[in-house]
Structures are given as C-alpha cells and as structure tokens.
C-alpha cells in the first residue's frame, strides 16, 4: 500500500522534475538567443554608424574638393608618356649611376720613357729594378695614370700648378677690394651715397612730376584728406 502510494508521488515528482528541467533548457536557449540578438543589434547599429561615417568621409573627401586642393596647393599632374617604363630593365637604366672608373681596381697604364725600359735587363728582377730606376728618374705616381676616355694633357696638368698662384693672386686683390668696400659703404651708406642719390632724385623729381608721375600721389593725398 505504502509503496504504491509513494510510487505515485515519486512519479509525480519525476514528471515535475523533468518538466522543470525542460523549462530550464528552454530558458537557457531563450537567454542565449536574446544575447545573440543583442550582438546582432549591435552589429547592425555599428554597420549603420559605419555607413554614416563613410558617407561623411565621402562627402568631405569628395573628388571635387580633392581636385580643388590639387589645383591650389598640391599641384600634381598626370604623368607624361616618358614617365612610363617598359619593365625592370628600363627602370634600372634610369637609376644607373654616372659612368666613372672603378676606384678599387683602376686600369693603370705605366708611361715610363722607352729608353729606361730598354736598359732594364730582364723580367725576373721586375720588383726591384723598376723601383730603383723610377726612384732615380721620377716618382711612380707621375708615371701612372688611370685609363679614361679623356686624353691626359700633360702640359695642361703642368699649367694649373703654375697658373694657380696667378689666379689666387688675382682673386686676392678682388677679395681685398670686396672686403674693403663693405667697410666703406657700411660707414658711408647712411650718409654720403644716399644724400647724393636723394639730391639727384630731388633734382629730377620736378621734371618727372611735370611729365605726369605727380598725378599719382595727388589723388592719394586727396583720398587721405
């Protein structure tokens, strides 16, 4: 009797528990769904804001405005046909440095007098003999020159050394004169040259004003009056 009575109570409790469990699951699902929807709403709101901001940026940076700035300040212009290159090779030719002799390994030509070479006995003693002979006649640096397209002009090379003092000497008086002049003018500027020119101007002014220049100041005076 008693077991049967409890049995029904237990079964009723089980049913209630199951129903409650189901309800809790459903509640959980609903709350998850709600939070998902909230996220969706926020996404939509953000998208709306993005759209608004994009519209604003687009309006502020409209092409007509950019064009106006370009015409006034930036001044960019369309590239010319010459500014387009065919490929990497043509681009490289544009940035290639100026042709000049390689510094590390220059092609060095020796230009010792023929007579000296004839006296040299053999090639075996090369290292010692030329040194001795060249030292005797002239320094090595003078006999060697770097190969280049331009012809080395020996007399021209000799001349500058002679002419340098001359140019220096001519330059010096110029500099001296230039140096003295400012001193003079600095002291004399406010006094001597200007009064002279002013006097000249004053002397010529009446003639010029008679010719019609004076008509300009007059209206100005009348305006200020």
């Amino acid at each position: 009797m008693s077991a049967r009575g409890f049995g029904s109570v237990l079964s009723a409790g089980a049913v209630v528990g199951a129903a409650l469990g189901f309800y809790l699951v459903s509640l959980r699902v609903a709350s998850e769904r709600a939070s998902l929807e909230e996220v969706e709403t926020r996404i939509a709101m953000t998208q709306r804001d993005i759209r608004l901001l994009q519209t604003e940026i687009g309006t502020r940076g409209r092409l007509a405005q950019l064009e106006r700035w370009n015409v006034r300040f930036i001044r960019l212009s369309a590239p010319n046909a010459d500014q387009f290159v065919d490929g990497g090779f043509q681009l490289a030719t544009l940035v290639a440095p100026q042709q000049k002799p390689a510094i590390e390994a220059p092609v060095v030509l020796a230009s010792a007098p023929v007579a000296d070479q004839a006296t040299q006995p053999t090639l075996t003693g090369d290292a010692d003999v030329p040194d001795a002979s060249s030292h005797a006649s002239r320094p090595v640096s003078e006999m060697m020159h770097v190969a280049s397209y331009s012809l080395p002009e020996k007399p021209a090379a000799a001349k500058p050394t002679e002419s340098r003092p001359i140019t220096v000497s001519t330059a010096k008086p110029m500099k001296a004169a230039a140096a003295t002049k400012p001193v003079k003018s600095a002291t004399a500027d406010p006094l001597s040259p200007l009064p002279g020119t002013k006097a000249k101007a004053k002397g010529t002014a009446p003639a010029a004003s008679a010719a019609g220049i004076s008509s300009k100041p007059q209206p100005k005076d009348s305006v200020t009056d």
């Binding site: 929807e37 709403t41 939509a44 519209t55 092409l63 007509a64 046909a81």
Partner: protein, 570 residues
C-alpha cells in the same frame, strides 16, 4: 413523464422519487463533467500555448524591424562602388505653435539667433499663428539640433527623417539626377529607376552605374576649365567604352548641385549630353566617308575629288575654311575638314543609303539609353533632297545629341557594330546591349588611320596627347540665331577615339558658344578650344583606364599618308 402505473412491489411514489433523484444526479454529473472538460480544455489550451511560446516563441526583449538596415531608398553607386546617392537619417526641425509653453517673444529672439534665415518678427508671427506645423529646417546640422534641444521648448519638434544625400555633390549630377522633397525621383537615374529604388524587395541592393567617378571628375574639371576660359554658355562631354557601350563619364555644364536641385537654374538642370540636340558639324564627316567606303563609292583613301574654293549646288554655295583650290584626295578632305569634298562624297552616296545608315546607327531616333531625358533628333525630314544630303554629309541640317555622336563613333571604331549606350555597369546582372552590324570590319579598320591623320597633320593637332594615339575629328558648327546661321556663335565639338591602333574608348566633348581669346588668335573653331580639353583629359584618364602610353605605336598610317600632298599649315 411516465404515466402512473399500478405498482405491484413497491409504492410507486417512492420508486418514482428514487428514479428522479438518480436521473437528476446523472444530469448533474454530466453537467459537472462538461464544465470540467471546458475548464480543462481551456487550461490545456493555455498550457499548450505557453509551451509553444516557450519553445518557439519570441522573447519579450526582441526589437523587431528597427535594426533593419534596408535604406528607405536604394543607393546609387559608381562602377567602383563609390556612393553617388545615399539615403541617410537627417534631423528635421519643426515648430508646433500650439504646444509652445514659454514666452513666445523670447523664443522668437532665440530662434532668430540660431536660425538667421528669418528675423525675430517672422518667428513671432509663426509662433502666434494658428498653423499646426511649420518646417523650420530640413537636413539640419547636428550643432544646431543640439542648440535647439537645449532651448527645452516642447513646441520645437526634432525629428529624424530619411533624406537623400549626394556625397559627391555635383559630380555626374545629370546622370544620377535628383529627388524632390518627398523623395521621388525627378531626373536622371533617380527618375528612370524610381520604382526599383523604392521597391522594398530590391532597394537593399544598390544600383551600380557604369560611371567611374575619377574619370567623370577629370572630364568635368577639364571641361569646366575650358568653359570658363572661353566664356562658353554650356558644355557637354561623354566618355564611352566602345565595345560594351558603357558610359564611363557623362557631364553637362553648367554644374548642378543635386543636394539643392531646386536652387539650380533651368539652364543647369538641362542635360546637354542627352536632351540637347546640336548640329555637330564636321564631326559627321567620318560617317559620310565610312558610308561611302562601305557602299563602294570611295574605293581608296587616294580617290580624288575636285575641290574648288567654292562649290555651287542647287542654288546654294558651299565653302571651306581651309580651301584647296585644286583636286584633293579623300585623306586630304578629312585632314583639312573640307565641306566641299565631303558634300561631293555624300552626293555620290545618295539620300537612301545615307538615311539607311543613319537609321542603323540610331541617329534618327531618340538616343538609346536608360535616362528619360532624351532629346528628339532633328533631321531634314520631308525636305531631305539632294542638297540636304550634301549638308547632312558634313553635319549640317541634322541635329543630334552628343551621346548620339559618341555611340556613332563607338560603332565606327569597334569593328562596325552598333550597340546601345548604357549607364549600368555591364556584368553578370546586366549584359551588354544586343548589337547589329552597320559598317564592315574593313571600313572600321581603315578609318583608324584617317582619323589619326586629322590629329597628327590636320585640324585636331591640339587634341594629341603624346603616346596615347588619339584619333578624332573636330567640328565647328554655326548656331542658328534668329532663323539664320551666324558665324558669331558656334558649337564646337571634338569626337575622338584612343588608342587609335587598338581603339577602346571614345571621347566626345562639346562647347556651346565659346568666345575667341588672345591666345587662340581670334579663332573660335574647335581645333582651338575643345581639342586641348581632349588632350588634357585623355592624358589624365588613360593611365586609369589601363591604356599605356607608347611613343612607338601608331595605326597603319601607310593607308593615308601617301595621299597627302602637303603638310597642313595649321
């Protein structure tokens, strides 16, 4: 109910009583059961409904509809997706005089301070009137809205309402069009696609135009500069892809700001590119030569025609601006833009063939494009005689829109196939229009060198952009003023194609009534005022369009150069 019967066992009264009670009891049980069933049913229905709602229903916090991002009216974007027209929520400031509670005079003064378009007296009159509602400002700036809000007056209503905004302002204004206050399309694409833009099912997707903003801007800027420089009253320009018929840029000047379209003059609202028809003069000559070549009238670029200083025909005299005074070849006729030579070619071609060709090119009907603002072309009509055939040959007595001309040049240089122009981007959703053949491919090929010659040696030298191989034809047509042609007012135009060795794009520009200036030596012909616009515009847009400049490429000039006797002086 039962008739009293003689009882044998029990007293009939008692029996009857027992029977009645039982019957009443049964009835009561029945009624009770019925009531319980009704209650149970109702409770079951409620419970079922609750279970259903818990399982499938919406919860209380759901915000339905508000987060819908579909705009009130569809967007219009250019081919790169840049917005040309958008609907945004704008603040509207309204006034409801009956709801005002504060001091009206003070309020009127404050309103006049914030919104100075009306004075305090006008605001006071509005506050004291019996109207229920006034619009004070539409599309109010946020600063003003917050200032109005700070007044704290319930009579001032702040509302958000959808508003059409054109972020690029006047860019492509005549293509995009504009809407009226109620958001209904009034011009351009806004008008032509009004239904689609309003349809809730379709307005989520923007309308993608074939227009490219950057190209449009380059064309508008250069054309506007020329228009102000030469004091022209108007200008129009079209740039088109000759193979697909897509219009990459189309403009009509003076400019119009669609954000305040109501403030624009009728002159500014007029679309010169599709609605205005003009006699476009010498730009027609290539068509005449191509028709003649297609019909076998002109067999070679070296075919000779007598070109006297003046040609008398049917009681009229045709003259040239650069007279030859000798026999000249077809190449020279085109290079020096000779009316006399072209008139003779047209006369040989004859009216029926000329009309048939023009019809196939769509020059006798309204221009075929999506816009509703399309002008009717003017033709000689019933008076189309032999002399009119001659004048139509060199572009007089026939008036078409600049877009007609662009379509015509596209037809001539894309291999000879007419394709209707389109303002929608050609792609999967919108295939290119169905075309039909007008000229043979050979004619189309031969015309390349001829038009390149005009730019290298002829009247269009100033249109050349180094490396871009522009070919084209200048046109200077006298305007009719008071019923007579006058040389004082002209319409100058240039129709060009580039790159000429493999044509891809056509550009048509037109200036309405440009004036001569000092640096044009008193000339107001097309070679002096519109040709430089083409040169500048093409050198800007060609790199964007993927046309690489190349100084070493040219069309096959051997087709025409042997038939040119001398270099043109100008």
């Amino acid at each position: 109910m039962n008739a009293p019967t003689p009882a044998l066992v029990a007293r009939p009264e008692r029996l009857r009583l027992v029977g009645q009670r039982r019957q009443i009891l049964a009835l009561m049980h029945q009624r009770l059961m019925f009531g319980m069933l009704v209650y149970g049913g109702i409770i079951a229905i409620i419970a079922l409904r609750l279970i259903y709602l818990a399982a499938f229903g919406d919860h209380a916090g759901r915000k339905g509809g508000e987060i819908d991002l579909t705009p009130e009216r569809g967007d219009i974007v250019d081919r790169d997706g840049q917005a040309l027209a958008r609907t945004i929520d704008a603040w509207t400031i309204g006034l409801q005089p009956s709801k005002v509670i504060g001091n009206r005079l003070d309020l009127a003064r404050k309103m006049a301070e914030l919104m100075p378009e009306k004075d305090a007296a006008a605001y006071l009159a509005m506050l004291r009137s019996n109207h229920s509602f006034y619009y004070l400002r539409r599309r109010a700036p946020p600063g003003l809205v917050s200032a109005i809000n700070a007044l704290g007056e319930p009579g001032l209503a702040l509302e958000r309402e959808p508003d059409r905004l054109y972020p690029q302002t006047s860019l492509a204004a005549h293509v995009v069009g504009f809407t009226d206050v109620d958001g209904k399309g009034n011009a351009g694409i806004e008008r032509a696609f009004d239904e689609q833009l309003r349809d809730p099912a379709r307005r989520g997707q923007p309308i993608v135009l074939s227009i490219s903003s950057r190209i449009q801007q380059a064309l508008e800027h250069e054309l506007n500069e020329a228009m102000t420089h030469f004091s022209a009253i108007g200008a129009a320009g079209v740039i088109m892809d000759i193979h697909s018929g897509e219009i990459l840029a189309m403009t009509s000047l003076p400019q119009l700001n669609p954000n305040a379209a109501g403030q624009g003059t009728p002159e500014a609202r007029f679309n010169r590119a599709t609605l205005g028809v003009y006699e476009l003069g010498s730009t027609f000559k290539p068509f005449t030569v191509a028709m003649a070549m297609d019909s076998g009238v002109v067999k070679s670029m070296g075919q000779m025609y007598p070109c006297p200083d003046a040609l008398h025909a049917f009681g009229h005299t045709i003259t040239d601006t650069h007279p030859f005074g000798r026999a000249c070849s077809v190449s020279e006729i085109m290079m020096r833009s000779s009316n006399i030579g072209t008139a003779q070619i047209a006369a040989q071609l004859g009216k029926p063939r000329q009309e048939a060709f023009l019809r196939k090119m769509g020059f006798l009907d309204k221009v075929n494009v999506e816009l509703m603002e399309r002008g009717r072309t003017l033709t000689p009509g019933s008076r189309w005689g032999p002399f009119e055939t001659m004048t139509v040959g060199f572009g007089h007595a026939i008036a078409v829109t600049p877009l007609h001309l662009a379509t015509g040049y596209a037809t001539l240089f894309n291999g000879g196939i007419y394709r209707p122009a389109t303002l929608l981007k050609v792609g999967r959703d919108h295939p290119a229009g169905k075309g039909h053949r007008v000229f043979t491919e050979e004619t189309s090929y031969k015309m390349r060198a001829l038009l390149r010659l005009v730019v290298t040696n002829g009247t269009g030298k100033k249109a050349d952009a180094p490396g871009y191989r522009i070919g084209g034809k200048t046109g200077t047509a006298e305007k009719i003023v008071g019923g007579r042609y006058t040389s004082a007012a002209v319409v100058t135009s240039f129709a060009g194609v580039f790159p000429m060795d493999e044509p891809r794009y056509v550009i048509v520009v037109m200036l309405d009534d440009p004036k001569a200036t000092a640096e044009t030596y008193g000339f107001h012909t097309a070679g002096w005022n519109v040709a430089p616009v083409v040169s500048k515009t093409v050198s800007r847009i060609a790199p964007m369009l993927g046309v690489r400049p190349d100084m070493n490429r040219e069309p096959n000039m051997a087709e025409v150069l042997p038939f040119v006797q001398e270099k043109a002086e100008q």
